[in-house]
Structures are given as C-alpha cells and as structure tokens.
Amino acid sequence: MATFSSTIRGPQTEQGEGGVHPPVRGGGGDGGRGDGYPDYGQRLRRVRVGLAIGLTSVTMIFVALTSAYIVRRGLPTYDDHTRTYISDWIPVELPLALLLINTALLAASSLTAELARRQITRQAALAPVRSIPGVSLGRESGFPWLGLTVVLGLGFLTGQWLAWRELADRGFYLATSASSSFVYLLTAAHGVHLLGGILVLLYAATVSFLLHRPIEGRRIVVDVAAWYWHFMFVLWLGIFALLWFVR
C-alpha cells in the first residue's frame, strides 16, 4: 500500500488544456460570468472545437457513401444471358461544363465567405475602440460579402439543379443505374449540407443584424459559418473528383 502516495501532487502548475484559460463561467448558455459581459474569445474557441468535431461526423457520412460507391462500382452482377458475372456499371455522362461553372461559383463563394469572416473579425476587434467617445476610425468599407456569399451559394445550388435536369435529359434518373443513383445521392447529400450553411449565413446576415446583437456574437456565427463553408467547398471538390475520375 506504499505506492498510493505517489499519485498525490501539489496543485498542478503546468495546467492541462482545461486549465490554460481561466475557468470563466461562460458555459450554460445563460449569459457568461454574470457581470453582463460574456467571454467571447472562449465562446469562439468552444464553437470552433464543436464545429471541427461536427465536421468529423459529416466526413464519416461521406466516407460511408464513398466506400459504398467504390464497392458497388467494382461489384460484378450475374448475367442470365451469358451465364457469367459481368460489370453492370454504366459511367454517367456528367455535364462537365456546367459542373465546372458550379465549382467556380462555389470557389468564389468560399472566397467571399472568407472576406466576410475577416471583415467582421476586424469590426469586432475595433468595436471597443470605436465605442470610446470622440474616437473616429474613418469609414469602414461595408461591402456585403456575407450577402454575396449567400447569392453565390444559391447560384451553386441552382447550377446543381440544372445539372440534374441535364442528367435527366440524357436519360439518367435516380433509379436508372447504380452509378446514376450515386451521382444524385452524393450531390443531394452535399446540397443539403450546403443549404444548412446558407441558412446559418442568412441568420448571421439578417436576424442577428436586425436584432442588434453584439458584434462579437455575430462574429462567432459568421466565423464558424465561413469555416463550414470552406469545408463544403473542399467536400464538393472531393465528390466531383470521385464522380469524374472514378466513373
């Protein structure tokens, strides 16, 4: 029993990750430390951690679909006429030009999302200075990057819709073949996730703006929405590459 005391230590001076930040009571979603000023830095970090973890599960959803795609593509089917196993995988004729335009739209929206993120980060950083009476920082450029991102995102979704129409015109419907099922499925799954991002951006651009929420709070929404948006762009590149190169 002599070994028990070895685990007793003094108060840890090298704090763990949990101790890096002072244990400010910002949690509970009920309003920070109680002195009316929530710790936005801590809240931003927490939401970013949550986003990274959430994106892991989104990744797993698409990993599952991708592996199903690859397995199904390599799967032979028994053919009654020849009495052998043959591949029944029909490569889908993707509307390449349209999809490239869509990709460009999404790339542009990712860029504008980043500009929106930086814009609001700067505004949030300068807000305390600006609130000092008599201090003027000149006019900020109020370009609506957020709104532009939403417009470009909706443009991408419309483009995807047109691509579906194009596929249907070429005779590829959801249930036509395994390959076309996967094309619709992967693009739809991505589209749904992107739509979620658009809703968050719309929330950041309108509701919290109109309600005069503190800029720091809006900044957090815009920040994670922008990172989510970048992820959606990279995810689309992966899906596009899969559908094109692994036809």
Partner: protein, 576 residues
C-alpha cells in the same frame, strides 16, 4: 466573488422551461434516464411475450392475442431495436453522462446547452416514431434489429415491411442525428470545459468512458445514417443499392445489381462500435465504484485509460466477424478474427485491474458495489464466449444459434444494465437528494444476478445443441424436444427476473419521495459531484469554481486525515 455570486442565480422557474424544454444538463440527463426506463419496460414486455410463446406456442395472450410466426419476428425486431438504441445507448451515455460528466469535470453545464436539449427531444421523437411502427398498417417490421437487406429493402417481403419498416428506418435515422449532436456536445465539453487542475489524466474513469464512447458514436452513427438513407431510397424511390434481381411471390421486382452485403458492411461498421457504446460507460461506472467501495485507488489508472482507447480503436476494425457466414474470403475472415481476439487483451487488462482493485481491500458491500461486482462477473462470463465466436470455424456452427443470443445478452445486454443499476444506486442520492432502500436493493440484486444467469447461461448449451435463434416455434421439431425442459426453465427464470424489476421501480419512486435524506457525500467518494450540494444547484457548484488538486481515486492515502482525499482538497498536499 461578487460577480460569480450574481451568476449563481436560480434556474428558470416556469414548469415548461424548467422540466420540459430545459437547458440544464441535469434535467436533460434525468429526461434521458426516464426515456430509457420506459423503453426498457417496453422491450422487456416484448421479450416476455417471446419467451412465453416459445414454450406455449398456441397460447392466446392478452393484448397481442395469438402469436403467429410473423408476430414473433415483429416482437424480436422491436425488442432488439428498442433495447439497443433506446436503452443501452440512451441511459448509460446520454442519461448518466449528461448528468454527471459536467459535474465531474467541474463545469457549470455542457458546452452547447441548446444542442443538448435538441438532442434529447430528437431522441424522444425517434422513440415515438419507433413505437408508431407497432400501429402502422401491417404492424411492426420483422427484419430483425440488424435490418438485413433485401428483406428490409423490399416493401412486399412480409407483413410489417410496408409502413412499419419505413417508420423503423426513419426512427433510426432520427436517432442517429440525435446521437451525433450528443456526441459533439460530450467531446467539446470534455476538451474545453474542464476545471482548473482537471487534466485529462485526472478525470474519473467514468468521464474517460463517456469521452471514448462519444468518439465512437461520432464516427459510427454517421455511417448508419448513410446506410439508412440508402435503404429508404431502395424502398421508396426504386434504387438498387442493396437489392439484386429478386422475385418475391412470383413477381419480379424492379431492382437489379444491388448488393445485400453492402448493407451488412455498412450496418456492422456501425454495429460493432455500437456494442462498445453500450458497454464502455458501464466499464467506467464499474471502475469508479470498485475503487470507491474497496477504499483503494483504482489499480492501474493509466492502463485503464489506454485499455479504453484500445477497445475503442479495435472496435472499428472487427465488424467483419459478424459476417463470417456471408461467404467472405477466408483471408478477410482470418484478419477480422485476429483483430477480434486482440480485443481480449485490453478487456483482460481491465478485468485484472478490477480484480487487483478488489484484492485485499476492505470492501463495503453496499448495493451499488454489489452491482459493480456483478458487472465484472457478467463481463467475464459474457466475454469468455467472445473468442469462441471470433473464430470462423467455431462461428459457422454456432452462428444463428441460441449460443450467440446467450453471449451478447450477457455481455452487451445484462452487463450494461448492471452498469446502469450500479450507477442508479450510486448516484441516486446526488440526483434526488434521498437514499434508496438498501435491503430492497440487495434483494433486487440477488434475484437479478441469479435470474439473468439462469436465463442466459443455458442458452449457450441450447445453442451448442443446435437450437436456432429467430425461430418462433420449437415444439414441432423432434430433434429439439429434449431441450424443451431447459427452454421452460429459461422462461420461468425470465418471469421471475422480470417480476423482480418491479422491486427496483418501486424502490426508485418510493425513495424519491420517502427515502432518508442523503448527505452531500454519502459514499465518502472523492470526485467533484460529491463536493457540491445534494441535489446540485442550477450551476452545479453554487457560484464558485472548483479547483482540482488530485487524481480521482485517492483512497486510503497514508498520512491523510481520512481514508479518502477529495479531488478539490488542497490539504492532501501536506500529507505528502
């Protein structure tokens, strides 16, 4: 301190905000707990009907009437699904985890309280949708909790496979989303909200178990969600992900070229980690309680943590051992077999460390401790048949027999349930401010332990004697006639064991209102939940922030004033 005291305000006062759509992790934890309690009684009633049908196949039962073969399969499907998702996944992780994880790491709440509320109510909706399958036209689905295609992927493959099966898949998809939200919250909370001094390696093993479980859930439920969406598309929109060219009742279905094995791969990629999602929180609770009631530090804390991680990692590379019968390449089967048996190593580390904790200890045999020891017993008994089933040559004769049923019920079902019982008897004083009745707790323990062994141990023999699972009737099969006495014995044991569970429920609710008042630390335990008031205030620590100085299991420390040193006790330093 003024600012912090100002924060120590009471929670919301209205009934709806306080008890229904509450953001308080403690209320949400209790909500999850009671959801699981309702679910476990539904699942238990279904199993009772199945057991009765097995020995009296022609009996006309109340409510359900005559049990036809398809009715039996519907009972089996719903029993498995409700138990796995709404009991084993819900209570140990979401119930106890929600309540005690933030308190044990010294946080005022979960990282995202609104998300927490959403994930509970999403789970609730999933449960309602699942129950609705009973009332759908054609009844509940009959494809088993594993939902193997093409049976599950065709709408005319049997009664219950129309709307009932759609509701079943929808419910599981909703449950996946709820679990993903919950897992996100758990992981963020542990990474970001630990109190000062609460390093990862000072967390109680319960927190480690919840952490690893949340990671498993995060990675596994997304895959099940994908698989479920493919299944819904196959059923309703004519795709052929899982369905090959099939003829049902002389009618050629429109599907072609799909692979039923694809479903099995996707399902078991989720399904095997799910087994650990059910059992790991129980392991955490057992570790916590064995140390507390043995008045000794847990034997090999770090080894326990690394064993949890190893089990979590290995859990993702063994799904193929559920598919040895699917005609997989013997080389794949060999790889899956080796990986599966490798899980025996961290499991044995845990078991020996539990035994090492008990060795030469002055054990306090109170009800929570009895259940923790029972957990170890069941984990060993159920675990030992694992390496048998992990080997293809043994799995092939034993597959789809009662042997498998006995195996997984002992280790995944009853062991996890014992973890929940242990947690209930242990944390009840903190949750409701009163003690549970000790005598009735012991009686409940003895009947439940003996009863479950009587139910599930003989199933191993039945399986080896060739009794298949999922068959609704054995009375017509000549070669199984000599097993009927054993089958009757199991059913009688099940009736007694199920009856004994009412002792628990009565004890639970009676103690909630009439039990003796509990002190803040009735078990003389060291972790943070025992430093705060009973029951804990809205922000858990009444406006102050705990600072942690020790690991979680400082019992019988030489030189210390008492035989335990609280994690928040700076005085323990002087003893060194």
């Amino acid at each position: 301190m003024v600012a912090q005291d100002a924060h120590a305000h009471a929670g919301p006062q209205g009934f709806i905000r306080k008890y229904v759509f509450s953001l308080d992790h403690k209320v949400i934890g209790i909500q999850y707990y009671f959801l699981a309690l309702v679910a476990v009684f539904v699942g238990m009633a279904l199993s009772l009907l199945m057991r009765i049908h097995m020995i009296w196949p022609t009996a006309i039962l109340p409510i359900v009437g005559e049990i036809k073969p398809e009715t039996y399969l519907q009972l089996l499907t719903m029993h498995g699904t409700i138990m796995v998702f709404f009991v084993l996944t819900t209570a140990p992780q979401s119930g106890f985890g929600n309540y005690f994880l933030p308190i044990q790491i010294g946080a005022p709440d979960m990282a995202f309280p609104v998300l927490n509320m959403l994930s509970f109510w999403t789970t609730f909706v999933a449960f309602v949708v699942m129950l609705a399958a009973f009332f759908a036209v054609g009844g509940a689905p009959l494809h088993g909790w594993t939902g193997y295609a093409p049976l599950s992927a065709l709408t005319n493959s049997g009664p219950g496979e129309q709307l009932g099966a759609d509701l079943w898949i929808t419910s599981i998809a909703i449950f996946c989303i709820a679990s993903l939200m919950g897992a996100l919250n758990f992981i963020t909370t542990i990474l970001d909200l630990r109190a000062k001094g609460m390093t990862m390696m000072r967390m109680p093993l319960t927190c480690w178990a919840w952490f690893i479980t949340a990671i498993l859930g995060l990675l596994a439920f997304g895959v099940l969600l994908s698989a479920g969406i493919l299944l819904l598309l196959d059923r309703n929109l004519g795709t052929s992900f899982y369905v090959p060219l099939v003829v049902v009742n002389g009618q050629v279905m429109g599907h072609k070229g799909g692979s039923p094995l694809l479903w099995q791969h996707l399902f078991w990629f989720f399904g095997h980690p799910e087994v650990y999602i059910a059992i790991l929180p129980g392991m955490g609770v057992a570790s916590q309680l064995l140390s507390t009631f043995a008045r000794k530090p847990i034997f090999g804390y770090k080894a326990m943590v690394y064993a949890l991680m190893a089990i979590g990692i290995l859990g993702f590379v063994v799904w193929g051992h559920h598919m040895f019968m699917s005609g997989m390449s013997p080389y794949s089967a060999f790889a899956f077999s080796i990986m599966t048996m490798a899980i025996g190593v961290p499991s044995a580390i845990k078991t020996f460390n539990w035994l090492g904790t008990l060795y030469k200890a002055k054990i306090r045999f109170q009800t929570p401790m009895l259940y923790a020891i029972g957990f170890v017993s069941l984990f060993v008994s159920g675990g030992l048949s694992g390496p048998f089933l992990a080997q293809p040559v043994l799995d092939i004769p034993l597959h789809d027999t009662a042997f498998v049923v006995g195996h997984f019920h002992l280790i995944m079902g009853v062991a996890a349930i014992f973890g929940m019982f242990a947690g209930t008897y242990y944390w009840f004083p903190k949750m409701f401010g009163r003690m549970m009745n000790e005598s009735w707790g012991r009686i409940h323990f003895v009947i439940t332990l003996v009863g479950t062994y009587c139910i599930f141990m003989p199933m191993h023999y039945l399986g080896m004697a060739g009794q298949p699972r999922r068959y609704s009737q054995f009375t017509e099969l000549a070669y199984l006639q000599h097993l009927m006495p054993l089958n009757r014995f199991i059913t009688y044991a099940a009736i007694v064991t199920i009856a004994a569970q009412f002792i628990f429920v009565i004890n639970l609710f009676w103690s909630m209102f009439k039990g003796p008042k509990a002190s803040d630390n009735p078990w003389e335990a060291t972790t943070l939940e025992w430093t705060t008031a009973t029951p804990p205030p809205h922000d858990n620590f009444g406006g102050h922030t705990p600072v942690v100085y020790h690991g979680p299991y400082e019992y019988s420390v030489p030189g210390a004033a008492k035989d335990y040193v609280m994690q928040t006790d700076p005085a323990g330093v002087a003893a060194h």
